[in-house]
């Protein structure tokens, strides 16, 4: 328990001064009814892989219940050799636009943000042992986390084609 709390706190610290809505911890304690919260059925538009301006991707599972999140090939290339990945703890609840983890490469700590409010249901533990995998297959095997959405995506969400154009401009 303490471990989960410590790690959750570490992740929260990643987002130290970021604007946030209600704290996920407060929610957990004050609204136990949330356990039975309505699962958002993700709109069909999201089933195709989508990209954010912060270079994350999200993709909805075939059954529409979970969303997988990772960083884009463009981001993995720009970051250089990844040496460590801070993964969230399973059970962590985050709001859209909040920090869900971080990647370290070449002296740089880069935040991973989630475009969708969600609860973390699974993490890719293999990245702890072999963080370099994220340079090899960031949009496949080296996904970061699987999420159970608690809302709709916020901010600019792009198709592969739109994202390619966006990164070409950058």
């Amino acid at each position: 328990m303490a471990a989960r709390y410590a790690a959750a706190r570490a992740v929260r610290q990643l987002a130290s001064a970021a604007p946030r809505r209600a704290s996920p911890f407060v929610c957990q304690r004050w609204q136990p009814a949330q356990i039975e919260r309505r699962l958002f059925s993700v709109s069909s538009a999201l089933k195709e892989k989508k990209y954010t301006e912060d270079h994350e991707w999200i993709e909805t599972s075939a059954d529409g219940k979970t969303v997988t999140l990772g960083i884009s090939e463009y981001a993995a290339k720009a970051l250089g050799d990844v040496v460590y990945i801070e993964l969230p703890e399973v059970g962590l609840e985050v709001g859209a636009g909040e920090v869900i983890g971080a990647v370290e490469s070449v002296k740089s700590a880069s935040d991973i943000l989630t475009p969708i409010g969600a609860k973390v249901v699974e993490i890719n533990g293999t990245l702890e042992k072999t963080p370099g995998n994220i340079n090899k297959d960031p949009e496949g095997d080296a996904w970061i986390a699987k999420l159970e959405p608690t809302g709709e995506p916020e901010g600019k969400i792009m198709s592969k084609k739109e994202y390619d154009a966006f990164t070409e401009d950058a």
């Binding site: 410590a6 610290q13 990643l14 070449v106 740089s108 700590a109 935040d111």
Partner: protein, 431 residues
């Protein structure tokens, strides 16, 4: 007629103290509008300098700049900290730092664990974990930290190190250049054929790789990237009086026994630039203004300081940096594997321990009872004040001298390799 050097010196000495009251006044006036100014989209180029030497405050002001500044602004921030050891975000303090030296000035009771070297006489040294990546560095009053926050789309790892090199060359440090690790080094070769004066990556003194005259590092870099913004900060050894003892602080007795995930430091030979802090600060401010002259109007240099703790987000960041969880439990998973090399059969028992999020996940202290080993699992390292005392407690009423001896030996070794230093407390007088 030009004033004599003697007069200049007299003139310079009182200058700095007389400035302080004025800057304090101005920073008091401005902290209320600081966040607004940062977010103001018309202020595209901003420049700040801190009057505080508190590393936790300066890092929190810096983070506030990163989080709050408008998306396409570029901001310079200069600060100088009191003596502290700063580890990277994903580093292991037990591996990177000689933790027992940090409190050496006050922890006189620790002599039973035989600190081999004399404690350096510079008083208490703070332990800090920063939010950016990279390796461990030592800060003191002769080290000026420079930091640039800019749009991520403009960001390269070298461009602002290059800016600092341009500043240094203007100040006469013509051996300075940026190396392949994005650090600033001074070349030590003899002067060869001229190189392009604009090239910040070589000097006439650059030697071939493999030459024993290895360049000396004067500035190291680290970065934090978030939400379309990039922070690049660097140290600058301007005139550190502690060069000869920095190595002692950065040499951990546990180094050969710890296998850690995360980031390990790369140590480099260092030297001072040999400038006055104020000259370096002015040089960097000028180089910054020149570099961004076409981006926005020339920035007025504002002074920030301890009053900025009144800004709630800065206070929050400050408190977070001082939490034991951030300092220690943030450490990536690691394994301690201790084997006495010199006297394998007579020395202290072998130790195998794995730690995750600062909690002992598995533990095997050789010859120590299974019961004790079992009880250690799940222990939070932060809760351990003294390993020897803890192991005695776990041994309980079993008074058999041999069991006691083994527990004590394991406790002494653990106290040497995994000490849990006092967490720095907020000390107003340091601000």
């Amino acid at each position: 007629m030009a004033p004599s050097r003697g007069f200049l010196r007299l003139w310079h000495t009182p200058l700095r103290p007389s400035i302080i009251p004025i800057t304090r006044l101005s920073s008091q006036r401005f902290y209320q509008t600081f966040t607004e100014d940062l977010a103001n989209p018309t202020k595209k180029v901003q420049s700040y300098v801190s009057s505080s030497s508190d590393p936790y405050l300066n890092l929190s002001i810096e983070d506030h700049i990163l989080q709050k500044s408008s998306p396409d602004s570029t901001i310079l921030f200069l600060y100088t900290n009191r003596p502290c050891v700063v580890i990277g975000r994903n580093q292991n303090p037990w591996l990177e730092v000689n933790l027992r030296l940090l409190n050496a000035a006050t922890a006189a009771s620790d002599v039973s664990y035989h600190i081999k070297s004399e404690p350096p006489a510079i008083g208490n040294v703070d332990l800090v974990r920063r939010r950016s990546g990279g390796g461990t560095v030592f800060h003191d009053e002769g080290n000026v930290n420079w930091s640039i926050t800019c749009p991520r789309s403009d960001f390269t790892r070298d461009k602002h190190a290059e800016m600092v090199v341009r500043a240094l060359r203007k100040l006469g440090v013509e051996r300075a250049r940026v190396n392949e690790r994005h650090d600033i080094v001074l070349d030590l070769g003899e002067k060869k054929h001229a190189v392009d004066a604009q090239d910040t990556h070589q000097t006439p003194y650059t030697v071939e790789e493999g030459d024993p005259r290895r360049p000396l590092k004067v500035s190291g870099s680290a970065y934090k990237l978030t939400r379309g913004r990039a922070l690049h900060h660097g140290t600058a050894l301007v005139a550190s009086p502690n060069l000869h003892i920095i190595g002692q602080y950065l040499k951990s007795p546990a180094k050969e026994y710890i296998e850690a995930k995360g980031v390990e430091s790369v140590s480099s030979p260092i030297t001072n630039m040999g400038l006055e802090n104020s000259a370096f600060e002015k040089g960097v401010q000028d180089a910054f203004a020149t570099m961004y002259a076409t981006t926005g109007s020339a920035p007025v240099i504002e002074t920030v300081g301890k009053e900025y703790l009144n800004i709630p987000e800065i206070k929050k960041g400050y408190d977070e940096l001082l939490t034991p969880d951030w300092l220690f439990a943030q450490t990536p998973a690691f394994k301690l594997r201790f084997r006495e090399q010199n006297a394998p059969n007579m020395g202290p028992p072998n130790i195998d321990m794995s730690v995750r999020h600062g909690i002992i996940e598995s533990c095997s202290l050789e010859n120590v009872s299974d019961d004790t080993n079992r009880k250690l699992m799940g222990t939070k390292l932060l809760d351990v004040k003294d390993w020897k005392v803890l192991l005695r407690e776990l041994l309980g009423k079993d008074k058999e001298p041999s069991a006691k001896g083994v527990h004590d030996a394991a406790g002494t070794t653990l106290q040497r390799l995994l000490p849990i230093p006092d967490v720095p407390s907020r000390n107003e007088e340091h601000l």
